[in-house]
Structure formats: structure tokens, C-alpha cells
């Protein structure tokens, strides 16, 4: 029982980190970035390259991965989102194509076979009879630290409030002197950074492979649908619901069914409450 709680907390922390960057773009820019999973892949592989192949310090590796993710986000905004002028369908489709292109690019650079990422923080400890690697523990702690700072950033800083304003009413924000374009750009950058950092931890939790972008994308999608848009707290709660459902499914039912309940939850929420459990209703 205790083991389930601990594992649930650890996995959920990781999931919250994975989802938050995706939620951010969906809330502020109102577009589905289907290439979001590719940030995680870029982050994971960049970290692998810098710290495992070049032997750079681990922290530097994480930072460089984040920088690359940020660049990817900014480029995507400049080269895809702006030319498509906010056409949602076109952005969804083109980000999907982009994800496949990035996948092919990764195969090109690193090959087809999966790679094992050495633990970022080596070592194992025992908590209440469950063995917990320092690696996943660090991931969870970092994830909480990032989520709390992001929450404070959005609630307390001028820039964060501007992001909120754009997410609620683009025109209104523009009238009150906020440039939605700059805010969008910033959001894409932050989202890319968050995705890449999440990718480092996700990869160390599972492994690096060119198709690793699909699973986190599905998790992010689930969190956004179930939680609704525009709520970091909602993202956190739903990441825990999904994380615990998976851990319980694996422990009590069958490991193969880990994702099934997540999908059923998505479908159920969409039928019962299309705006999500914690999201605001769209204002017409």
C-alpha cells in the first residue's frame, strides 16, 4: 500500500512536469502542439550527447538540453505558427508532421536502437520498504520545484500576468498594452525548455528511443483534457490522478493495462464535462 503511494507520488511528479509545458501552450496560444513530445526527445538525446558522449558535467548537460528545447520552441513559433496565422487545424497537422521529421532526424543522428541513459543521480535508497532510486526522487523534486516556480511566475510577476491575460482574452490583452505576439513567443520558449528538461528525466526513467515522443504526448494530452485549460493546479492534480491510476493498474491488475485507464478517463471526461474537471468554460 505504502509502496503504491510512494511510487504513485514519484510517477505523478514526473507526469506533471511532462504535461505542464503542453498545458501552457494550449492555454496561452490555444493551439495543440503535437510536436510537444519531440521536445522531450530533443532534451533526452541532447543530455545523452552532452553528458554521456562528451562527458560534460551533468548540470551543464541539463542546462544545454533546456537551451536546445527553448530554441526548438522559438523556431517552431517563428517558422510554423506565425506563417500559419493561428489556423488551428493547420498548426495541429504541421506539428504532427514536424514530430515525425524530428523522429527521423534523431534516427539519423543516433541510430534506430534504444539507448540507456545512465542515472542522472546514481544510488538507491529504501523508503518504507520500497527501493527508490535517487534518480526518480530527484526527478520528482525538480519537477515540484519547477512547477512551484512556474506557478509563482504566472501569479506574481508582471510577465506571468500578461500571459494569463493573453490566455483569457487575446484582444483585451492587446488593448491593455500587452503584445500577444511577444507573450506567445515567450510561452513557446518556456514550453520548449520545460519539455526538454522533462525529457531528460523521462528518458532516465525509461530509455531513449526515436519513438519515445508518443507516450509523453499522450500523457500530456490526457492531463490537458481531464484537467481543462488554464490551470496549473489542475495540471498537478490530474497528473496525480493519472499517475496513481497507472501505478495501481500495474500493481493490482496487469502491467499491460497501465495506459488503458488513462484513455478511458479521457473519453469519460470528454463525454461528461468537455471543458475538463478544473478548466474554465470557454467564453463565447
Amino acid at each position: 500500500m505504502l509502496q503504491i503511494i510512494i511510487q504513485g507520488l514519484l510517477l505523478s511528479g514526473l507526469y506533471a512536469l511532462i504535461a505542464v509545458g503542453f498545458t501552457l501552450i494550449f492555454s496561452v496560444g490555444r493551439v495543440l502542439n503535437l510536436a510537444y513530445g519531440a521536445y522531450l526527445m530533443i532534451g533526452g538525446y541532447a543530455f545523452f550527447f552532452f553528458s554521456q558522449q562528451l562527458g560534460l558535467p551533468i548540470l551543464l548537460g541539463v542546462i544545454l538540453a533546456g537551451v536546445l528545447g527553448c530554441l526548438a520552441g522559438l523556431l517552431k513559433y517563428r517558422l510554423l505558427v506565425i506563417p500559419l496565422k493561428g489556423d488551428h487545424v493547420a498548426i495541429e497537422i504541421s506539428t504532427l508532421i514536424l514530430a515525425v521529421v524530428i523522429q527521423a532526424g534523431i534516427v539519423l543522428l543516433f541510430g534506430d536502437s534504444p539507448k540507456v541513459l545512465l542515472p542522472i543521480v546514481p544510488g538507491v535508497t529504501q523508503i518504507a520498504g520500497a527501493s527508490v532510486t535517487f534518480n526518480i526522487l530527484t526527478a520528482t523534486l525538480v519537477s515540484w520545484a519547477i512547477l512551484i516556480s512556474l506557478y509563482l511566475f504566472i501569479k506574481k510577476t508582471h510577465l506571468g500576468r500578461a500571459m494569463q491575460a493573453v490566455s483569457m482574452d487575446k484582444k483585451g490583452a492587446a488593448i491593455s498594452g500587452v503584445n500577444p505576439d511577444h507573450i506567445n513567443m515567450l510561452t513557446w520558449g518556456i514550453s520548449g525548455t520545460l519539455g526538454a528538461v522533462a525529457g531528460v528525466f523521462f528518458a532516465s526513467y525509461t530509455q531513449l528511443s526515436p519513438s519515445m515522443w508518443v507516450a509523453p504526448l499522450i500523457i500530456a494530452v490526457a492531463v490537458v483534457i481531464v484537467g481543462g485549460i488554464g490551470s496549473i493546479i489542475g495540471t498537478l492534480i490530474v497528473a496525480h490522478i493519472i499517475g496513481f491510476m497507472e501505478v495501481i493498474a500495474v500493481a493490482e491488475i496487469a502491467p499491460e493495462l497501465r495506459g488503458v485507464f488513462t484513455m478511458l478517463l479521457i473519453i469519460a471526461v470528454l463525454i461528461i464535462r468537455p471543458q475538463g474537471l478544473f478548466g474554465r468554460e470557454e467564453i463565447q
Partner: protein, 315 residues
């Protein structure tokens, strides 16, 4: 209906070229064309729903997979004759499409795309664990009975299927129902404001699309002989279908066919020069650039060219 003589001329020319093809090309090329034919059927199926009404489906592999699995399980595990198993597979696919449609009724835009994606992932995971004795679990089903032998026969079968599907879709979409579905894609509220029940229209598009997907999926399973969850319920497969429809030209019948052939042959012709993974990189890149340059697809590019030539010759 607004059908002109040159429409028939174009269809006849297309059929003539396609039926004569085995005389001119190698067996290897023929196998490539067979894949293009199936891809074209899947892309048409996607287009009937998403290209016309603007409701983007990320779940078409779900429908195709159900068609393929149903007929594979029926013929392989229960010795049902193919003549019966394919129609059953089509009906099962339509029922599955209807089940997806119910939650999708209440949602619009991006959420619709996401729920269809969720269905695909759900199916991918379920098919591996529920009754693996029937579905073959992770490894899938192999040794599925074929309908024909040899590349030439396989080619004619896939071509006939493509032509039947394409001509049917073309005829239906030229009637007022096609206009109404496109109208939903442009402004759903105005369609309701014109007194038309859009739920009924969307259900029709969904079932018609599922019918084609199930039919294509079932024939495809019998052609390739082996199916596996990761090959069917897969984002890369989804990508190929959607891109074929869009690159060719959505909301047209010729578009998805052109797109499917373009993609298949792009991949095939890159092979001698780029034997490795670079091929997919370039393939995706070309698709992305083409889509960004002309979201209406190759068919729109051809039309601009035609207009330019006509204008030049007339001045």
C-alpha cells in the same frame, strides 16, 4: 449533379492507364503501386470525414485496424469464409465508428482530434491484452489467408477496390450531401441555421468514412497476410494517411489519390540514393514544406498551373 463529359474522360483515362500498368512495369514497382492503392483508399476514407467537415480525425488507424483485425480473427481463428468475413468486418468497423462518434458529438475542434487519438491508443493497448489467444497479443496475427496470388492479381484487386471506392465517393460528394458536408467545414452554425441537422450529417460522414476504412483495412489484412498492433495503431501510419490526403488536396476525390501516389513514390525513389533513415527525414521535410506552401495540396498547385497555361495561350 453538375457532371461534365470531361469528368468521365479523366476517369476513363485514369482507369486505362492503371489497368494497362502491369504490362509496362516490373513486379517490384507493381507491389509499390499496390501499397499506394491501399494508402489512397485510407486517405479517401479520412478525407470523407476530416477533409470535408473539418473535424480532424487522429483515429483512422483505429477504424482501419478494427476492419483488419475482425476479418483476420474470423478467417484465421473461426474459419469463416472471406466472402462473409469482409462484410462483417465492415459492419463491425461502422459500429466502432458509431461508438467513437457518440462522445465526439459534444466536442469540437482540437478536442475532437484528441479524443480520436485517445481511441487509437486505447485500441493499441487493449488489443495486446484482451484475448491474446484471438488477437495474437503484441505479435499480432500472421498467415492470414490471401484472396489472390501474385503481384499482378493483387494489383488488379487493389485497383478495382480503389476505383469502386473513389468513384462512389466522387458521385456521392457531387450531390447535395457533399455540399452540405463541406458547408459544415466552413461554418457549422450556418448549416444549422439553414435548417439542417448537422448531427445527422456528421454521423453520415463518420459512418461512410468508417465503411471505407473497414473495407480497406479488411482487404489490406488479406493482402499483407500479417498484422500487428504497432504497425496498425500507430502515429506514423496515421501521419502517412493524413499527409497523403492533405498533400494531394483535401475535400477532393482526386487529391488523396494523388497524395498517396506522390508519397509512396517519393519514398520509393529516394531509396536508391538514400538507403537509410535519411529518407524519412527528407520525406517528412518535403511533406511539411509542401503543406506549408500550399495547404490545399498538389491539386491546387496543378489548377494554378492550368490557369496560367490557359491564360498564356489565350493572350
Amino acid at each position: 449533379m453538375n457532371i461534365r463529359w470531361y469528368h468521365f474522360a479523366l476517369w476513363a483515362a485514369f482507369m486505362a492507364v492503371m489497368f494497362a500498368l502491369p504490362e509496362f512495369v516490373s513486379r517490384g514497382t507493381l507491389r509499390t503501386v499496390i501499397f499506394a492503392n491501399f494508402l489512397a483508399i485510407f486517405a479517401i476514407s479520412w478525407d470523407v470525414l476530416s477533409g470535408r467537415t473539418g473535424y480532424i480525425s487522429f483515429g483512422h488507424p483505429f477504424l482501419i485496424g478494427i476492419g483488419a483485425y475482425t476479418t483476420a480473427i474470423l478467417t484465421k481463428r473461426f474459419d469463416v469464409a472471406i466472402e462473409a468475413s469482409i462484410p462483417i468486418a465492415v459492419i463491425v468497423t461502422m459500429i466502432a465508428g458509431f461508438i467513437v462518434f457518440l462522445p465526439a458529438l459534444r466536442i469540437k475542434g482540437s478536442y475532437f482530434a484528441l479524443v480520436t487519438l485517445a481511441f487509437m491508443e486505447l485500441m493499441y493497448q487493449l488489443v495486446q491484452v484482451i484475448r491474446p489467444d484471438l488477437t495474437g497479443g503484441t505479435r499480432g496475427i500472421s498467415g492470414i489467408q490471401g484472396i489472390t496470388r501474385g503481384a499482378v492479381n493483387g494489383y488488379y484487386l487493389s485497383l478495382t477496390l480503389l476505383l469502386v471506392v473513389a468513384v462512389t465517393v466522387w458521385l456521392v460528394m457531387r450531390t447535395r450531401v457533399g455540399t452540405a458536408l463541406s458547408a459544415i467545414g466552413m461554418n457549422e452554425e450556418s448549416v444549422r441555421g439553414s435548417g439542417l441537422d448537422t448531427t445527422k450529417l456528421k454521423l453520415f460522414a463518420f459512418l461512410f468514412s468508417a465503411l471505407i476504412a473497414g473495407l480497406g483495412g479488411a482487404f489490406y489484412a488479406h493482402y499483407v497476410g500479417a498484422i500487428a498492433p504497432r504497425a496498425l495503431f500507430d502515429i506514423n501510419f496515421l501521419f502517412t494517411i493524413i499527409v497523403a490526403a492533405l498533400i494531394g488536396g483535401a475535400a477532393t476525390t482526386a487529391g488523396p489519390i494523388i497524395g498517396a501516389f506522390f508519397l509512396t513514390f517519393l519514398l520509393e525513389y529516394l531509396r536508391p540514393y538514400l538507403p537509410g533513415a535519411e529518407r524519412y527525414f527528407i520525406y517528412g521535410g518535403v511533406a511539411l514544406l509542401l503543406y506549408m506552401y500550399q495547404p490545399k495540396g498538389i491539386i491546387a498547385l496543378l489548377e494554378t498551373m492550368k490557369d496560367r497555361i490557359i491564360r498564356r495561350s489565350s493572350t
